[in-house]
């Protein structure tokens, strides 16, 4: 049976990086997944939640839960948004019925790399870019959802590219949502350290699974005129052609 997945393309991904969403759609279709994009979705509400606007975040959470209530699986291409849905939505609800609905959605929600590796069991992909790749752990995916392995498994087995570990890959890139504009100097100092580590690996590309980290790292790399690219995981994965004669 063809699995069906509902895409949650949250704010930054919708407005700033739509090409990432496009790639995800094609990638999943290439893996025989039927992709839906439920109408009316906006943002997961994490920016509101993290700044302490919990009543407002709860209102956003409620409508997001309603929009995805019927979905078999929900795929979120950003670790922090996935964390928000899985980790914080249920606690924001005020009635038992709402909470049950939120927990159902939370249980069916997967960050993209987790969906590929843990739900579909697919690890072998071809690289859409050549050269050397490294990986930055987004904080919410790593420490919030305890996921370090799925993205690495995909990158290690990627055909046509070399994977190297990034020293201090588990350290924050300095984005932190509103933190990046409330304390821009500190945010940038943290970013500079991260980018220094990235450049020291000699990688052509640093891969991440979070729109926030990508915005921060791309912004910094472009400003320093670096040749290194920061790409979303979906931008480096391509479905391998079926191998002739393989079972």
């Amino acid at each position: 049976m063809t699995p069906t997945a509902a895409l949650m393309i949250t704010c930054l991904g919708d407005v700033l990086y739509p090409e990432v969403g496009e790639r995800i759609v094609r990638l999943l279709r290439g893996l025989d997944v039927r992709v839906e994009f439920p109408a009316g979705q906006t943002c997961c509400g994490l920016p509101l939640f993290n700044s302490g606007y919990h009543a407002e975040a709860a209102a956003v959470a409620r409508r997001t839960v309603a929009i995805f209530a019927a979905a078999e699986q929900v795929i979120v291409p950003s670790g922090s948004c996935a964390w928000m849905v899985k980790h914080e939505y249920p606690g924001l609800m005020t009635s038992v019925a709402e909470r049950t609905a939120a927990e159902r959605v939370a249980g069916r929600t997967h960050e993209l790399s987790q969906f590929l590796v843990k739900v579909l069991g697919r690890r072998r992909f071809r690289s859409a870019v050549g050269g050397r790749l490294t990986y930055h752990d987004s904080c919410h995916l790593l420490r919030g959802l305890h996921e370090a392995e799925s993205p690495r498994a995909l990158l290690r087995e990627l055909a046509g590219a070399e994977f190297v570990e990034l020293p201090g890959s588990d350290e924050c890139c300095g984005f932190g949502g509103s933190f990046s504009v409330r304390l821009p100097e500190v945010s940038t100092a943290i970013l500079d350290k991260k980018l220094g580590n990235v450049e020291a690996t000699g990688a052509d590309c640093v891969v991440a699974c979070d729109a926030g980290c990508l915005m921060q790292m791309r912004g910094g790399l472009a400003r320093r005129g670096s040749r290194v690219q920061a790409l979303h995981l979906a931008e480096v994965l391509e479905v391998e052609e079926p191998l002739g004669g393989a079972p």
């Binding site: 990086y17 994009f37 924050c172 500190v186």
Partner: protein, 472 residues
């Protein structure tokens, strides 16, 4: 008000970023601490279980804090010690000053204690004619420099060895190479006579064991042992939450405390103080006083910051915090720096004190990960932000922006329209799909980073075509 607070937090942080010496010292020290901690726990397969156990002990003790404090008081008094309960910093200072006055003390040697920093004891002693002498090397350094600790366990972490050598030359008249061993020897010689001359020994306490009435001090330099045994009178100042039930519990904490703090299996000295000198004992103080400090703690047993009462003061969350690693401890402006420090500052000074500090975190969660008792610091930082918003302490334009954002997110049609509006507004600023400069709040971003332009077509606007593609 604390002296540093005259300048806004962002400016204090900016100065720290520009301080070349601070940056060098911080990078070296925190990197070392992180590596040592990681190695120490790698060798301890039961580490995670011990951390869970430690947390459970702390939680269970908090549940019955009154009971365990009574047990502790009873045990200490039965050994001839005295216990004082101080509701506020002011009361705690008065208790110590009264003891100093009654015993005619002129000089007090101190071992490292954040609780006495919290109540600003040194200034009070000085004003009362009692000279306080810090005997922990780091504390000694910053006392000479007339500064305050910038780290919970490594008070002089912000100083390079070169700066310490300069300080010793200036303050002690001892010119020397910036060699830590030589510098330590100088401090040691300076301090030896002080230990012998002091009337009063003042310490903190890492734990107090209720069932035995034991005050526990964990140190590396042996100064704690001298402070608690050489002078006639020993006063220990301790937050009420540091009481633990039994020696068995103590063993759990000792197994993880030093590993979290410095990566040591155990600290060099673990001193168990069991009351004043008794008949027939050759040494020890004639009087032992324990000052139990509340100062806003007890209120939090039922408050939003309850979990912060589990803190062991190991400093691991500071070492791993990307913000602390960039700005160091002084920029925070209060006694306790770093992620846990923000919570403790709110506990001691109220949420208004942390209206900026509550945002001094990217919420990366490294603190919670490193915490030996897994305190959910990010959750409580968010909670503090919420309090700051709700009590109207946050500036109104900020509240208005978030209010408007929330409103927009619940109106999908307008939300999609706003992308078009963004495309229109950004037009003068976009060059090659990127924005290098924007005015106002966005300028805080574009000063150091490019901003991606709003896409020519959002994902929403591309979806129809993607659906057609599937049907082909």
């Amino acid at each position: 008000m604390e002296p540093e607070l005259a300048t806004p937090f962002r400016e204090r942080a900016g100065r720290a970023l520009d301080d070349r010496f601070l940056q060098e010292a911080l990078t070296v020290a925190t990197t070392k601490f992180i590596t040592l901690r990681r190695e120490a726990f790698a060798e301890l397969p039961e580490g995670d279980a011990l951390r869970d156990q430690a947390r459970a002990i702390k939680e269970a003790t908090l549940q019955r804090l009154d009971y365990w404090l009574e047990r502790l008081i009873e045990r200490i008094e039965s050994r001839g010690g005295h216990v004082h309960y101080a509701t506020s910093a002011d009361e705690a200072r008065r208790v110590v000053l009264d003891i100093a006055r009654r015993t005619g003390a002129r000089m007090a040697v101190k071992s490292k204690s954040m609780a006495t920093e919290e109540i600003h004891l040194n200034d009070a002693l000085q004003a009362a004619g009692v000279t306080p002498v810090e005997t922990d090397l780091g504390e000694y350094i910053i006392q000479l420099a007339h500064e305050r600790p910038s780290h919970i366990i490594a008070p002089a972490i912000h100083k390079t060895k070169g700066q310490v050598a300069e300080l010793f030359a200036r303050e002690l008249g001892r010119e020397t190479e910036p060699d830590p061993e030589v510098l330590t020897r100088i401090a040691r010689a300076e301090l030896r006579q002080k230990f012998l001359d002091a009337d009063l020994g003042i310490s903190g306490a890492n734990f107090a064991v209720a069932e035995t009435g034991t005050v526990v001090l964990v140190t590396n330099e042996g100064n704690g042992r001298m402070v608690t045994s050489l002078p006639r009178v020993h006063v220990a100042v301790m937050g009420v939450e540091k009481v633990i039930p039994s020696m068995t519990d103590l063993a759990v904490f000792l197994a993880i405390l030093a590993k979290s703090a410095t990566g040591q299996k155990l600290s060099v000295y673990t001193s168990l103080v069991n009351g004043p000198r008794r008949g027939g004992e050759p040494e020890g103080p004639e009087e032992l006083h324990l000052v139990l400090l509340d100062n806003g703690r007890v209120r939090q047993i039922a408050g939003p910051l309850r979990e912060a009462l589990n803190c062991l003061r190991c400093g691991a969350c500071l070492n791993v915090c990307p913000v602390y690693r960039q700005i160091g401890g002084h920029a925070y402006g209060y006694t306790y720096p770093g992620p846990i420090g923000i919570l403790l500052t709110a506990m001691l000074n109220g949420p208004a004190a942390v209206k900026d500090l509550a945002h001094a975190s990217s919420l990366c969660g490294a603190c919670m990960d490193a915490c030996p008792v897994r305190i959910d610091i990010p959750k409580m930082l968010i909670e503090l932000r919420r309090e700051v918003d709700q009590q109207g302490i946050a500036p109104w334009p900020e509240r208005a922006v978030f209010g408007a954002f929330a409103w927009l997110l619940q109106r999908p049609r307008l939300y999609r329209l706003s992308a078009r509006l963004g495309r229109l507004l950004q037009r003068p600023f976009v060059r090659g799909g990127r924005i290098r400069w924007l005015p106002g709040l966005f300028g805080e971003w574009t000063r150091t980073r490019d901003l991606p332009a709003v896409a020519r077509r959002t994902f929403h606007e591309r979806w129809a075509a993607l659906e057609r593609e599937a049907r082909r």
